[in-house]
C-alpha cells in the first residue's frame, strides 16, 4: 500500500475540520476525493502533506510513518503535492519553477527539466516566461509538471481542474492518466468541479462531506444516473 | 517677562507644595541654590555630553575638572570644606540635560554648575536663573549668551561671534576676495558662519557663496561641488568632525588646492591626517601657554592622561571654571548661589592681585586682598555680561602632523557687522 491514512483528524488551531478520516492509495491507482465546496477536502490534503498539524491518527507513506515529518522532506520521500492555490512561483520563469524541485548538479537538473518539458509542448514554448504570465490551464500544467520532477510515487492533486474550460480539463485528465500508466505512480486527486468528466478516469473514489470521509466507492456507481445529483444537488433528477 | 521673585505668595504656595511632597524629616528642597549649608562636602556639579554628539569632548573635560577639584582640596578646600565633583550625562540632548540637571541639583545638591556645551544650558537658562545657581560654561560659543550672561551665567571661552569674526579677518588679511563657505546646519556651526559671512561680504569687492549641509549623509560630494563651482580663493568649512572630515577629503579629491579656514570643532587629531592638511588654518581661543597656571595644569594633565591639553577640546577651560567657582565661593564666604555668582567676575577680572593657582588665590583672599585669577586657558577677564573681554585668539596650522599655534591675533572690531 502506497499511502495509508488512518483515522486522521486535522484542522486550523483548535478548530478541527476533518475528523477520523481514513483512506488508502495503491501504486498505479488513481483515487479521487469528491465533495462540494467547504467540506474540508483541501484541509484533508494539507494534513496528509503535513502542512497542517495532525491531532489524531497517522499517515503512512510506503511503509514510513510521516505523521511527524516536515513538509519539505516529503518530496524526498516520493510524495508530490500540487496545492489548489499558489501552485506555482509567479516570479520565477517556467524553467526556474521546475528547477526549484530538482536537487543535485545544475547540468543534470537542466537536462531532467528539459526532458520533462518535452512532454508539455505548451510549457516548452514559454520556458523563459514568468509563471505569472501563464494562463490558468498552463499554470496548472506547470504545477503538475513541477510535482513530477521529484519522481513521485504518490502524487497529491488538489482540484487541478478548477476554473478550466472542459477541453483543458480533459487535457489535464490525460496528463494524470499518463502518470499512472507510464510512471506507475499512485494519485490522490481531489475533485469538486466537472465530476462527470473526471470520474471516468478514476479507479476508486471517496466522498467527503462535513469533514467525514465515506467508505471507498467505485466511480461507476457514482456515475449512475442521479447519484451525483443527489450528492451534489440533494435532489433526484 | 516679569517675575515677582521674593514676594510672599510664591513662598506660601511653594511651601504648601513642598510640604505636600517632601519626604518627612527630609531637608527642604525649597532653599534657593538647591542645597542647604549643612557643613558637609561642597558639591560642584558637572553636566556634559558623555554620550551623544558631543561625547568626544567629555573625557578630557572630566579629567580637567578632577584636576581642579584635587587642587582645591589639596589647598584645604573651600571655606574649610572638602569639594566633591558630581558628574551627569546630558546625552547631548535637551531632555537629557534637564533630567541630569535635576539630578545634580536635587539629588547631589550641587551648589555650582559647570558645563561644557550650549544646547542643554540654553534650555535651562530660565530655571538656572530662577534657582540662582552659579553656572559657568567652558565651551559655549552660543550668541545667545552674548547679552544674557553676567548674573548667574558666565563663560570662559570666546563667543561664536568672535570665532566668526576672526575667520573673516583671516581671509581679509590674506587678501582673499572670493570665499565659499560650507556650513553644517547646526547651531554651533551656523552661528559663527553667519557672523563670518556678514563680516566678509561687508568688505567691498568680496563675494561669498554659502552652501548648507545636513550632517548624517553618506557623502557631501554634491554640496562640495556646489561650493567649488564659484572658483573660490578661500574656503571656509564650519562643521563637526563627522561631516567635516569627509568634506575636507572631498575638497582635496576634487583637486582644489586653496586655503581652508576650518571652525574650531575641526581642530582635532583626525583632521591632521587629511591629504590637504597643509591648507588648513583655524583660529581658536588660545591657551595661554606661557602662563604659570597653564604650565602647572598641563603638567598634571600630562601626568593623568599621558597627553597634552588640546585647545580644541576645551579641557583647560573646564579646569579654569572650577577654580573660579572655588575662588568665588571663598570670596563670598558662603555657598549661597547669588552671593557666589556675584563674586565670579570679581575674582576672574582686574583689578586685584594676579594669582595663578587656587592656593595662591586662597591665600590672597584670606589676606583680604582682591584677586584676579589668571586661568590656564586665558586671563579670564570678563565683561559685565560674563563674556571674556579679550579672548586670546591664536591661529593654528598643522605643523609636523599636529595642530600648532603659529601666531596670536586680536580681533579687529571694525569688522563687527553692527559696528
Amino acid at each position: 500500500m502506497l499511502l495509508d491514512v488512518q483515522g486522521v483528524s486535522t484542522g486550523y488551531g483548535r478548530l478541527t475540520v476533518v475528523r477520523d478520516a481514513s483512506l488508502t492509495v495503491d501504486a498505479g491507482e488513481i483515487v479521487a476525493v469528491v465533495g462540494s465546496n467547504g467540506v474540508g477536502k483541501t484541509t484533508l490534503l494539507k494534513g496528509i502533506t503535513r502542512s497542517l498539524p495532525i491531532t489524531a491518527g497517522r499517515v503512512v507513506l510506503d511503509g514510513i510513518d510521516i505523521t511527524g515529518t516536515k513538509p519539505n522532506q516529503l518530496a524526498g520521500l516520493g510524495l508530490g503535492y500540487v496545492p489548489q492555490v499558489g501552485s506555482t512561483f509567479p516570479d520565477l520563469t517556467v524553467m526556474e519553477n521546475l528547477l526549484v524541485s530538482v536537487r543535485g548538479s545544475l547540468s543534470t537538473a537542466r537536462e531532467r527539466c528539459s526532458r520533462l518539458l518535452a512532454r508539455f509542448p505548451e510549457l516548452e514554448r514559454r520556458r523563459d516566461q514568468a509563471a505569472s504570465t501563464l494562463s490558468g490551464g498552463e499554470r496548472q500544467m506547470l504545477a503538475i509538471a513541477s510535482a513530477l520532477l521529484s519522481s513521485p510515487r504518490l502524487l497529491v492533486l488538489d482540484e487541478p481542474t478548477t476554473g478550466l474550460a472542459p477541453l483543458v480539463v480533459q487535457q489535464r485528465i490525460d496528463d494524470i492518466r499518463r502518470l499512472r500508466d507510464e510512471d506507475g505512480a499512485g494519485v490522490l486527486w481531489v475533485i469538486e468541479e466537472h465530476p462527470r468528466i473526471c470520474l471516468p478516469a478514476v479507479d476508486r473514489v471517496y466522498f467527503l462531506s462535513d469533514g467525514t470521509v465515506s467508505a471507498p466507492m467505485r466511480p461507476a456507481d457514482l456515475l449512475e444516473e442521479g447519484v451525483l445529483e443527489e450528492l451534489f444537488f440533494g435532489v433526484r433528477a | 517677562m516679569t517675575r515677582r521673585r521674593g514676594s510672599v505668595i510664591p513662598l506660601l504656595l511653594s511651601s504648601l507644595v513642598v510640604a505636600a511632597c517632601a519626604e518627612p524629616g527630609g531637608p527642604s528642597a525649597a532653599d534657593s541654590g538647591g542645597a542647604s549649608d549643612d557643613g558637609g562636602d561642597i558639591v560642584f556639579g558637572q553636566l556634559l555630553g558623555i554620550t551623544g554628539d558631543y561625547a568626544s569632548f567629555s573625557p578630557p573635560a572630566i579629567e580637567a575638572a578632577q584636576i581642579a577639584v584635587d587642587e582645591i582640596n589639596e589647598a584645604g578646600g573651600v571655606l574649610g570644606r572638602e569639594v566633591t565633583l558630581a558628574t551627569e550625562d546630558n546625552r547631548s540632548t535637551v531632555d537629557g540635560a534637564i533630567a541630569g540637571y535635576q539630578k545634580l541639583v536635587s539629588v547631589d545638591g550641587a551648589q555650582v554648575l559647570g558645563s561644557l556645551e550650549s544646547d542643554g544650558i540654553v534650555a535651562l537658562y530660565d530655571t538656572i536663573t530662577e534657582q540662582q545657581l552659579p553656572t559657568i560654561c567652558s565651551s559655549c560659543g552660543t550668541t545667545f549668551l552674548d547679552d544674557k550672561g553676567g548674573e548667574y551665567f558666565f563663560r570662559v571661552t570666546a563667543s561664536d561671534s568672535d570665532a566668526g569674526l576672526i575667520a573673516a579677518q583671516l581671509a581679509r588679511d590674506a587678501g582673499y576676495k572670493n570665499m565659499s563657505m560650507i556650513v553644517q546646519n547646526t547651531e554651533g556651526a551656523s552661528g559663527p558662519a553667519e557672523v563670518a559671512e556678514a563680516a566678509f561680504s561687508g568688505i567691498e569687492g568680496n563675494e561669498v557663496n554659502t552652501v548648507t549641509i545636513e550632517p548624517g549623509r553618506s557623502s557631501y560630494a554634491a554640496e562640495v561641488d556646489q561650493a567649488l563651482s564659484t572658483n573660490p580663493d578661500v574656503i571656509y568649512v564650519g562643521a563637526g568632525i563627522e561631516a567635516g572630515l569627509p568634506i575636507l577629503r572631498e575638497i582635496h579629491r576634487r583637486g582644489y588646492d586653496v586655503p581652508i579656514i576650518v571652525s574650531p570643532d575641526l581642530i582635532l587629531p583626525e583632521t591632521t591626517t587629511v591629504p590637504n592638511a597643509d591648507n588648513l588654518v583655524a583660529a581658536l581661543g588660545a591657551f595661554d601657554v606661557d602662563s604659570p597656571t597653564y604650565e602647572s595644569y598641563a603638567e598634571r594633565f600630562q601626568e593623568r592622561t599621558g597627553e597634552e591639553p588640546s585647545p580644541g577640546l576645551y579641557d583647560a577651560n573646564n579646569y579654569d571654571q572650577y577654580i573660579l567657582f572655588a575662588l568665588a565661593m571663598q570670596a563670598a564666604g558662603t555657598t549661597d548661589g547669588s552671593e557666589v555668582a556675584s563674586k565670579i567676575i570679581d575674582v576672574a577680572s582686574a583689578p586685584g592681585t594676579k594669582v595663578y593657582s587656587y592656593a595662591e588665590g586662597l591665600e590672597a583672599l584670606e589676606n583680604g586682598e582682591e584677586i584676579n585669577f589668571e586661568g590656564a586657558s586665558s586671563s579670564l577677564d570678563m565683561n559685565e555680561n560674563g563674556n571674556l573681554v579679550s579672548p586670546q585668539l591664536s591661529i593654528l596650522r598643522i605643523v609636523n602632523g599636529e595642530w600648532a599655534p603659529t601666531e596670536s591675533v586680536a580681533i579687529d572690531s571694525s569688522l563687527r557687522p553692527s559696528a
Binding site: - | M1, R4, C21, G26, T51, D89, V94, S106, A123, E187
Partner: protein
C-alpha cells in the same frame, strides 16, 4: 538631599510620553493605524505653542499670546496638519503607512531645521513661557509642572476613556479588524480614520506638546527625532497595545526605569557604558515583551472584558484572512 524634585522631573517626562502613548493607542491600538510619525506631530504642536507664546521682539519672534490661548492654537494647528498628512497617507496599507508617516515626521523635523527664520533652526527657541512660574519658587516648580502634567494626563485619559466606551471607539476597532466588513455596514472608514488622526493631532497640540515644551524649557529639533517616536511606541507596547491604561503605565515605567540609572554612581570613565543603558533597556524590553507577552502588561481583551470570556489568542491583522475577505 531630597531626590523628590528629580523624581518629579522624571515623572513629568514620563507623563508626557505616557500621554502620547495613550493617544497613539487610540490611533494604533484601536484604530490599527501604526503611526511612526509621532515625533512629527509633537514637533508641530511644540513649535506652534512656542511661537504663539514667544513675544514679538524675541530672537525667534512670535505672537506673544497667553499660554492657554497658545495651547488651543497649537491644538488647532496640529489638528489641521495631522489631517492634511492623514488625507493622502491613510489610504495606504500596512508597511506603506508606517513608512509614509515615518517620512513625514522626518520631513517636518528637517523643515524645522531649515526654516531658521521661523523656527530658529538648530539654535532653537528659548525663553519658553511656563504657566504660573511667577507664583512659585523655582525649586518648587518641578512639582507644579508635575501637577500640570498630571492634570493634562487626566484630560487625555478622560478622552481616551470616552473613546473606548463610545460607538466611535467600537467602530474604530471594528474597522481595524475588518475594513471591508466595516464599509459594508455603512461605516465611512476613511472619514473615521482621518477624524481619528485629527483628534490625536488636536490632543497632541493641546496637551502633550505644551507640557513637553514646559518640561524642555527650550526647543531644538534634536528633541523631535525618531527616538521620541520609538520611546512612545515602546511605552505603549510594554503597557499593552489596545488596553486602556497600558500606554500610560508602560511609558512611565520605561522612563522612570531608564532615568533611575542616574542614581547609580559610577566612575565618569564608565559613564558611557551606563549611558548606553537606556537604549539597551528599551530594546530588550521590546524584544522580550513581544516574544513572551505580546499583548503587553495589560491587554485589549482585559480592557474590554465586561462580559467577555477569554478564548484562544488571535492573530490580529492576519493578512491572509483580510485578503481573503477583500478578494
Amino acid at each position: 538631599m531630597s531626590t523628590l524634585p528629580f523624581w518629579a522631573t522624571v515623572l513629568t517626562f514620563g507623563l508626557v510620553i505616557g500621554m502620547a502613548a495613550l493617544l497613539l493607542n487610540i490611533e494604533a491600538g484601536w484604530g490599527g493605524m501604526w503611526d511612526l510619525g509621532i515625533a512629527g506631530q509633537v514637533a508641530v504642536g511644540a513649535y506652534s505653542y512656542a511661537l504663539l507664546t514667544s513675544p514679538p521682539d524675541a530672537v525667534v519672534p512670535g505672537l506673544g499670546l497667553p499660554f492657554w490661548a497658545a495651547m488651543v492654537g497649537a491644538g488647532l494647528i496640529t489638528m489641521i496638519v495631522s489631517a492634511l498628512i492623514g488625507w493622502p497617507t491613510l489610504r495606504l496599507r500596512g508597511e506603506y503607512f508606517l513608512i509614509t508617516t515615518f517620512a513625514f515626521a522626518e520631513i517636518i523635523r528637517q523643515l524645522i531645521v531649515i526654516q531658521r527664520g521661523l523656527t530658529g533652526g538648530t539654535f532653537g527657541v528659548t525663553g519658553i513661557d511656563k504657566p504660573f512660574a511667577e507664583y512659585f519658587l523655582p525649586s518648587a516648580y518641578p512639582f507644579i509642572l508635575l501637577g500640570l502634567a498630571a492634570a493634562a494626563t487626566v484630560l487625555v485619559l478622560l478622552v481616551s476613556q470616552r473613546v473606548s466606551n463610545s460607538t466611535y471607539g467600537l467602530t474604530l476597532r471594528a474597522a481595524r479588524d475588518n475594513e471591508p466588513l466595516a464599509r459594508s455596514m455603512g461605516t465611512a472608514v476613511d472619514r473615521v480614520r482621518i477624524a481619528t488622526y485629527a483628534l490625536v493631532g488636536l490632543m497632541t497640540g493641546l496637551l502633550v506638546a505644551p507640557v513637553y515644551v514646559w518640561f524642555l524649557g527650550a526647543l531644538v529639533p534634536a528633541s523631535f527625532t525618531t527616538h521620541l517616536t520609538f520611546l512612545v511606541w515602546t511605552g505603549l507596547v510594554i503597557g499593552g497595545l489596545g488596553s486602556r491604561l497600558g500606554g500610560l503605565i508602560g511609558a512611565v515605567v520605561l522612563t522612570v526605569a531608564s532615568e533611575a540609572v542616574r542614581l547609580i554612581s559610577v566612575d565618569p570613565e564608565h559613564a558611557s557604558r551606563l549611558a548606553a543603558f537606556q537604549p539597551f533597556l528599551v530594546g530588550v524590553l521590546l524584544i522580550v515583551l513581544l516574544r513572551w507577552r505580546p499583548e503587553g502588561l495589560l491587554s485589549e481583551r482585559g480592557a474590554f472584558r465586561k462580559r467577555a470570556k477569554p478564548l484562544d489568542r488571535i492573530r490580529r491583522d492576519d493578512p491572509q484572512t483580510l485578503e481573503a475577505v477583500s478578494a
